[in-house]
Assembly symmetry: C2
Homo-oligomer: 220 residues x 2
């Protein structure tokens, strides 16, 4: 599987997920930054491989096998992102383009080492679900990073990411734990910090950096 094939399958999968519209040649070409002709070529090729149900002039639909391959690439991408950010302390911005390259050159063995090192996490630093080794997608119904929720909405903490001993200590201090309800009162653009009210009435200020590690689902 070459880089191009990887990217083709991955992006057909993501487009399928992201919108209900059919994945057409032109949409995919736009996304991949290549010509329509290149997409047609590749689609025919992958059709022959059995990874895609290719019929001229029809929308692009991955086969079961194609989906599996796409999920493997996505798994690698998201684990790398999490790893680069959480372990090596790389900027969330840089992390994406770096993962974009590494995902294609990472053996299954290596990615399992990384997953294990991270404690087999379910979500990447953007809150996107990391497909499992067998292709299972962790449920993420309405999961958002705390930094992305709007003011004055009620959210339930879904997942706290433990980056190091200090994060756990901070969660402890705040009495923050999975399952509790909170409301973001104000977001300070200046430093990204958030004023939050817990259901027991306590109001605290959480740094943007810490908030990046708090995942929530909408209340009810």
């Amino acid at each position: 599987m070459s880089v191009s094939v990887d990217n083709f399958l991955k992006n057909v999968f993501l487009l399928t997920q992201e919108s209900p519209n059919p994945v057409t040649s032109s949409v995919l070409a736009e996304r991949l930054g290549v010509s329509g002709a290149a997409v047609t070529d590749m689609a025919r090729k992958l059709g022959k491989k059995g990874w895609l149900d290719y019929r001229p002039y029809q929308a692009l639909v991955l086969s079961k096998q194609g989906q599996k391959l796409a999920l493997k690439v996505i798994r690698k991408h998201r684990l790398w992102e999490l790893f680069l950010h959480q372990v090596l302390g790389m900027d969330l911005m840089s992390v994406h383009e770096e993962a974009e390259k590494l995902e294609h050159h990472t053996s299954d063995e290596l990615i399992e080492h990384i997953s294990h090192f991270l404690g087999n996490p379910d979500f990447d630093p953007h809150g996107d679900p990391i497909p499992g080794n067998g292709g299972e997608i962790p449920s993420e119904k309405g999961v958002k990073v705390l930094t992305d929720v709007g003011e004055n909405e009620e959210w339930v903490v879904k997942k706290l990411r433990y980056r190091n001993s200090e994060t756990s200590e901070m969660y402890d201090r705040f009495g923050l734990e999975s399952g509790m309800t909170l409301k973001v009162l104000k977001i300070f653009d200046f430093d990204g910090s958030l004023e939050v009210r817990f259901s027991d009435g306590r109001e605290v200020l959480i740094s943007g950096k810490l908030a990046e590690n708090i995942f929530c689902v909408k209340k009810n």
Copy 2:
């Protein structure tokens, strides 16, 4: 710089280092697993780029610039090897082929994060020197991993690698520290462990795995 270019420069550099013989087309072709014609093609191309002093029928010699590029690739390779082995606990065998791929897809920024995470190490898990950010090669005159020294030779400990709290504890117990003299009395092939005598007369058994982290230079 493509993968092929990377590999070309890297291997010219390594061959130059590894033996006093000139780096010929055929030797490099053999090493890269490509035809002689492919080497000539590439050599002419890199000559034009100024990375190689290319003259038909002459040995291949890197320019200053070419050396710098080669050293960057080698730095990436060796840091990845160390990282995969030391941090992710991957097998020394797997580590090489994995690094062989990653080295070409790692930004300068990422590799500095990795280097920093590892404490800017000087040697990879095979005991090979890791070129610095600016291309400086750590002196390795006669440095060997303890697992590679012969029986009944006297060696001075050059570097102890601290993989985790347990390794330091073990070094402590043995009273092992940089600068001390030791002699390997026997190597047990069965489990790779080594019977070692220190200069103060104590004799201890060191596991092969621990010994991989002990670097020595020949006494005198």
